[in-house]
Symmetry: C2
Subunit: 239 residues, 2 copies
DNA sequence: TAGATTGTTAATCGATTAACAATC
DNA sequence: TAGATTGTTAATCGATTAACAATC
């Protein structure tokens, strides 16, 4: 991408460029660190983290390389310090606000999903075309009609839109979210979307899980079974 | 991986080994193909598919390499044929049944998520510890107490368990699912799990999306802006 | 034919893994 | 000290991309 080796001479903090694989692991590290913090376990090593996620310890070390954090040789990392360092990478710009579009099954589940708040994200609006939902509210946020969505979202300066509508209206909603000035879109509808270059688009591929499961089960029960299967001795591990 | 070039002499169909990245794209191809089938568009090319997903056409060609399907030079693939070929990779062993454990927000959303049925998966049970849910049912499937979960699941020969409980009980549920004889687990709780080698475990990392969004928005609005945006002219003086 | 696309091989790129000196 | 772990460099591996002959 960047071929000419320009010297890095600005030393102010800048979040490093992370691959999608690293980003995924980072969110998993954060889950683990939150558990450890709750249990007041003071330290954690790359080895431990790797064991928990089922990855090679070297990958954890590589992930931490660009972080603004120092571990203690022979001991590991301080849980709160490491946790903060990872959060800083993600939330360097402060907290973000979001709106949910579509108050169907998934929309309702996400509106009630408190983990988002715990991570510092604020739900500022919920929209649905169906009038029967307009009487509802979730933790103080009412379900509103979609007619004035753009104005409402601009007014409340909402950063992210969560598309929870059926697939055939998702592109339409995406266009309106762009018009409403969002910086990013999180798409839960099982369809591909077109958005301008400057909009961050994250797709939640819910059927991927089902298909991956089906594929791997098919693989295992067709071919792995050929060899051992004395109840496989239950070797517990992460994978 | 396989260095010695052993001749492929069994020509019965065997699903090829697919990477996680390929598996994810496969599920996206399927989404697109279903849309095209609905609109009765007869053909699709790797170029078109690549454009829709935002990937390089070469990656699509590579993904299709192990598929049991032939495209027409100069035309592309027949939509129904390609769709079936992809489904065959995933569902080679027939349909799978699943149970939902935990009838909270996410559990309810998944129980009502009809796409699973459309893909040929059958919901055979729903469990929750809370008695107030035991009066409910979703499309004929009642919410049952967790006490006899293992027996019920064995009896109904359920293949997959969807963990939709809070994080702190997820490992416990996983252990019981293993005891109940599932082949795979789909974990929606934000925690890492230990399961035996022979159990397929798929993790749905719901906070990943939020963090990825936050990270990319931070990146873009901090550094991409450096070029245009007149306020950020910022001539950096070295010292 | 001209234009488009498949299907494959080889080249490139990036991510994972191994290895180990430094250090608590 | 002995044992454990960090932090980094180099090697390996696998996935993506490029290129192009074959073909409709």
């Amino acid at each position: 991408m960047n071929t000419n080796p320009e010297p890095l001479n600005k030393e102010e903090f800048r979040p490093p460029t992370l691959s999608e694989a690293t980003l995924l692991r980072m969110s998993r590290y954060l889950n683990v660190l939150e558990e450890f913090a709750e249990k007041e376990i003071p330290h954690i090593s790359t080895r431990k983290l790797a064991d928990l996620l089922g990855v090679n310890p070297a990958v954890v070390k590589q992930d931490f390389l660009p972080l603004q954090v120092k571990g203690q040789t022979g001991v590991g990392y301080e849980v709160p310090v490491l946790m903060q360092a990872i959060r800083d990478v993600f939330l360097s710009r402060g907290t973000l606000s979001f709106a949910i579009i579509g108050f169907g099954n998934i929309g309702q589940a996400l509106a009630n999903y408190v983990s988002f708040e715990k991570q510092g994200f604020e739900m500022k609006a919920i929209f649905d075309v169906n009038p029967r939902f307009h009487q509802y509210q979730v933790r103080g946020v009412p379900v509103e009609d979609m007619e004035h969505m753009e104005e409402i979202m601009k007014e409340r300066q909402i950063d992210i839109g969560l598309i929870c509508t059926p697939a055939h209206t998702a592109q339409d909603v995406a266009d309106r979210l762009v018009a409403a000035g969002v910086k990013g879109i999180w798409n839960f509808a099982p369809t591909e979307l077109m958005v301008p270059e400057n909009i961050i688009l994250v797709h939640e591929h819910l059927t991927r899980g089902l298909l991956a499961l089906s594929y791997h089960i098919g693989q295992r029960h067709t071919f792995k079974d050929e060899s051992p299967k004395p109840e496989t001795q239950n070797v517990w591990s992460r994978h």
